[in-house]
Symmetry: C2
C-alpha cells in the first residue's frame, strides 16, 4: 500500500452529542465531497486519520443540515477514542478489513483457532476494528461448546494480555466467583468480610447487573462507593486485605467488557467465553486461589449436573494451564437465597447476616459460610477441614462485620441502605404446596418493579419449596420507587407467577 | 400481557435526518423522563406505539440539545416504517423479544428448523423485530452448508410468502441468473434481447453491485432507466416480452433485500441463503424455467467443481420442491469476459455484441449465445438442440438489437453510454506468458478507479491466459472520472497486479 490519501480534502472533526455506547459511529452529510468521491453509504466502515491517531467507525449519513458539508461528527465513544484537538481535521477513507477477519471467517466455517489468531481477534476487539456484526458472528460461532479446551485457554490468555494485571507480591490471593442465575445469592460481601477478617487478601471485583435485577456491585453500591479506579482499589486492599469494587472502572479484562455488550442482547451461552471472561479477570486481578460457586437448577444459569460437569472441567483445564488453583462448589440452585431481590433489599439481607440479627436469612448465612470455608481450606498452610469453624467464629464474634465496615470506610464510607416508598403484596391465586420456584420469573418481576435502576426496588419473599400457602396469602411483596413502576409490576405479577403450586398433601 | 402502558408520558415524534440504512434507530435525550423511568440506555431495543402503528428500533441516546426532552427523533428508515402524522405522539417502552428469537437460538445451538420457524424468522426480519446482532447471528449460523435441503426450501418459501408475486397467466416465463464473481460477464442484456426477440417472456430483475465493480442494473442504467416499479415493469414486459430492471424497486423478495445488508459486510457464503435468495426472487417474478450461469474458477464465486456440485444439487432440490424447471450451465470462471469492467465499459461491450461490431468481444458473444441456447432448449415445445441456431439467427439478423432498443425505449428511452475523461495504462512489470488472472484483483482495481459509483470508471483489458506480453506493454487501461481517482487506482495497480506471469515458453 502507498501513502497516497484518497479524496481531495480533510473534514473538520466535531462532536455529534450522540451516545452509541461502545460502538463508534461517525456522521457525515450525504452531499459531502468525501462521501461522494469515496462512494460511502450508511453503514460503511470508515477509517479516520487525525495526525497519527486512527479510528475505525461505522458511518451514518445525515440528510439535513445538522452536519455541515465539511464536517465529520463523532459519537461519544468515537470522540473519546480519537480524542481530537479543537479544530482537528481528519482524512476519511474506507476501512481496511480487520487483520483478524480471516481468522473469524475460518472459525465460522468450522476451523479451530490458535493462540496467535485469538490474540489478533482480541486486539481487534480492543481497537474497535471489528464491526458489531463481526462481534456478533464471533459470539454466535462460540456458542455452547464450540470452543475446545485449548481454544478457551488461548482466548483467556489473549484477554489477559490486552489489559492491566495486578501484582500483590508474595503469598496467596484468594477470590470467589458465582456462575450466577440465582436471585438473592449475594454471598460476596459476607465471604470477603470473613476471609479478610482472617487475614487473607481478597481483592474482589464485581459486575453490575447484566440481565439480572442486581449485580454484586449494585448491591454493594447502596452501602458504599464501588466505582474505584485501580490505584484506589489497591489502597483499600493494602489497608484492609479485601475490597468489593465495581470491575468496570478497573478494567482488568477490557476486551471482555466490550464483548459483553454483544453477548448480553444475544444471550447465547458459551462455555468457552464464560470461562475466558471469569478466569481472565481472576488472573488479571493477581488471584492465586479461586473458588467458583456453581448453583445448579432448572431455572439457574447451569441447568443440569451434566452441564455443570462440562463447565467445571473446562474451568479446571484452563485454570490449570494458567497456573491458577481452582475449586468448584456445586450447590442447589432450585430456589432463591435470602429474602430480598434487588440492590437494597439484598443489602439488608447481607447486613442482617453480618450483624447476626435474629431474622437473618439462614440460607444466605449457610451459603456464605460454606463458600468461605471452601476458600479457606484451599489456602496454602491451612489445616484441611478447619475452614468452616474459622469462618463461623469471625462471623459470630462480629469480627467479619467490623471488617466489612472497615472496607466500606476505606472505599469511601458506609451508609445504611434505604427502603422503597411503595410496596404491594401479590396474593396466592389458590391454596397449595409450593412444588417449584422459577428463578427467572422472580428476577423478571423484580426488574419490572424497577431493579436495578431504582436501587430500593425489587421484591421480597420468604417462601421456599415445600411450604404450603392459603389462597389470598401474600406470596411476595413488590417494592418500587414510584406508583407507576409498582402498578407496572403488579400488572404482570399474575402472568409471571413464579411459584408452581401443587395440591397440599 | 395487559394493556397498561409504562411511563407517564408520550413523546412527540420528529425526524432526525440521519440515514441508518435499513436499521431503524431512534434518538432520545439522556434526561428525558421516559428514558429514565424505563431504564433505557444506548442500544436498548425499544418499541414505539403511535395509534395502531408499532415500530421496534434501536435507541441512541443524545447528550446535547439536538433532541428535546419531550421528543423521540427517528432515523430515515424508522420514519418511513412508522409513517407518523405531523405532531404524532408515541408511547415508548422496552421491546419484547422477537417471537422467532427462540428459533434463532435453537439454530445457533445446532437444531434444524421447520417451515413454521423459518416463516416466523422471515416475518420478524420484515418487521425489523430482530436486531442487527440477531440478523448477524442468523447469517453466521447459516454459513457454508449449515442449512440442509429441507431448511433451504423452507427459508425460500418463507421469503416468497412475505413479498409480492407476479402472475403472467399461461405459458412459460423464462429467466436466467448468474452466481457471479466473474468481471465483465454481462450476458443478461444480450440473453434477454435474444429470448424476447424469439417471442418468449423474460421479465428480468437484476441487482446493483454489492461487492463488485458493476451489477447488471448498474450497466443497464447507463443505457436506459432501470428503477421501475412493479406496474411499470409489467407494462414493459406486456409490450416487449422482456425487461432488464433493478430489483430494488419491485421488491419481489423484500426479506432478502434486508438480509443482504447484513450478508454483504460479513461476506460469509451460505449455500442455503444463496439458493433462497435466488429462487425466492425467481418464483416471486412468476418464472417457470430458470437457467443458472455458474462460472467455476479459483477466483470466481464458486471455486471448485466440488463446490459447484454441492450448490447445484441444492439449487435443483429446492427448485424441484417449488415446481420450478431449473438447469445449470457450468462454465469456465478462470478469467474475465469481454474487455470492459465497470458499468459503462461493460455496456459498450454489450452493444458491440448486439450490433455485430467487428471488434465485439467474442467470448461475451459466445457465452450469451450458449446461455440463450440453454434457456431456449428448456422451454416447452422447443426441439432440443435447436436453441443455439435460433439464438444466433436473431443476434446476427439484428432482431435482438432491435428488441433491446425497444425494451430500452419502453423502460424510458435508450441512451448511448458515455466514456470516462481520464485514462491511464498500467504497463507489464516484466515479459512473460500469462499463467493466471485474479478476478478479485481486477474487480478491486476497477472499484478503486471509481466503479460503480462513477459509471464510466473501471478498466479495460483484452489479455487472456496464455497470451504473452513484453515488459512495458500495457496490461490494462484504467478509466476514471477525475484525476484524483485515476491516481488512487494507479497507486494500487502494482500491489494489485491481477496477471500472474510465467516465463514465456
Amino acid at each position: 500500500m502507498t501513502t497516497h490519501t484518497p479524496g481531495h480534502t480533510r473534514l473538520r472533526v466535531t462532536r455529534a452529542g450522540i451516545d452509541t455506547y461502545q460502538q463508534p459511529v461517525v456522521y457525515m452529510h450525504r452531499d459531502c465531497e468525501v462521501c461522494r468521491s469515496e462512494g460511502f453509504a450508511a453503514m460503511t466502515r470508515v477509517r479516520l486519520d487525525v495526525g497519527t491517531r486512527t479510528l475505525v467507525a461505522t458511518l451514518n449519513v445525515v440528510v439535513d443540515d445538522r452536519v455541515g458539508l465539511g464536517e465529520v461528527a463523532l459519537s461519544e465513544v468515537a470522540w473519546a477514542l480519537l480524542d481530537p484537538m479543537t479544530g482537528a481535521l481528519a482524512w476519511v477513507r474506507h476501512a481496511e478489513p480487520a487483520a483478524s477477519a480471516g481468522a473469524l471467517r475460518a472459525k465460522v466455517f468450522g476451523a479451530r483457532l490458535d493462540d496467535a489468531q485469538y490474540l489478533a481477534l482480541v486486539q481487534d476487539v480492543m481497537e474497535s476494528r471489528l464491526s458489531d456484526l463481526e462481534l456478533a458472528a464471533f459470539v454466535t460461532t462460540s456458542a455452547g461448546d464450540r470452543l475446545d479446551g485449548a481454544e478457551t485457554t488461548a482466548l483467556t490468555r489473549a484477554m489477559i494480555s490486552v489489559g492491566q494485571r495486578l501484582d500483590w507480591g508474595k503469598g496467596p490471593v484468594l477470590d470467589k466467583h458465582c456462575v450466577g442465575g440465582l436471585p438473592g445469592n449475594r454471598t460476596t460481601p459476607i465471604v470477603v468480610a470473613i476471609v479478610a477478617a482472617l487475614g487473607y487478601r481478597i481483592p474482589k471485583t464485581s459486575s453490575r447487573a447484566i440481565t439480572s435485577p442486581a449485580g454484586t456491585a449494585d448491591t454493594m453500591e447502596v452501602m458504599a462507593p464501588v466505582a474505584l479506579d485501580l490505584a484506589a482499589m489497591r489502597r483499600v486492599v493494602e489497608l484492609e486485605g479485601g475490597c468489593i469494587v465495581w470491575g468496570g472502572n478497573v478494567r482488568l479484562s477490557p476486551a471482555d467488557d466490550i464483548l459483553i455488550r454483544i453477548q448480553r442482547p444475544l444471550d447465547f451461552d458459551s462455555d468457552g467465553q464464560l470461562v475466558a471472561s471469569v478466569l481472565s479477570k481472576k488472573v488479571a486481578a493477581g488471584s492465586t486461589h479461586v473458588l467458583i460457586d456453581m448453583p445448579v437448577g432448572p431455572t439457574a444459569k447451569v441447568r443440569s449436573d451434566a452441564a455443570a460437569d462440562s463447565l467445571g472441567s473446562r474451568l479446571a483445564h484452563t485454570a490449570g494451564a494458567l497456573g491458577l488453583q481452582l475449586s468448584i462448589h456445586r450447590s442447589n440452585g432450585a430456589q432463591p437465597v435470602g429474602r430480598g431481590i434487588g440492590p437494597a433489599l439484598e443489602a439488608h439481607d447481607v447486613l442482617k447476616v453480618l450483624r447476626n440479627a435474629a431474622d437473618a436469612p439462614a440460607d444466605l448465612r449457610d451459603r456464605a459460610l460454606a463458600l468461605s470455608a471452601g476458600l479457606l481450606d484451599m489456602a496454602p498452610g491451612s489445616s484441611a477441614g478447619t475452614g468452616l469453624q474459622r469462618a463461623r467464629s469471625v462471623l459470630d464474634s462480629g469480627a467479619a462485620l467490623a471488617k466489612f465496615l472497615a472496607i466500606c470506610d476505606a472505599q469511601g464510607g458506609f451508609r445504611e441502605p434505604p427502603r422503597a416508598a411503595f410496596t404491594a403484596d401479590v396474593p396466592a391465586p389458590a391454596s397449595g404446596r409450593i412444588a417449584e420456584i422459577d428463578n427467572r420469573r422472580l428476577a423478571k418481576l423484580a426488574k419490572l418493579a424497577g431493579a436495578p435502576t431504582s436501587p430500593t426496588a425489587g421484591l421480597e419473599t420468604g417462601l421456599r419449596i415445600g411450604d404450603t400457602v392459603e389462597r389470598g396469602q401474600p406470596l411476595l411483596t413488590l417494592h418500587a420507587e414510584s406508583p407507576g413502576e409498582l402498578a407496572y409490576a403488579l400488572d404482570h405479577a399474575a402472568a409471571l407467577q413464579p411459584f408452581v403450586l401443587a395440591e397440599a398433601p
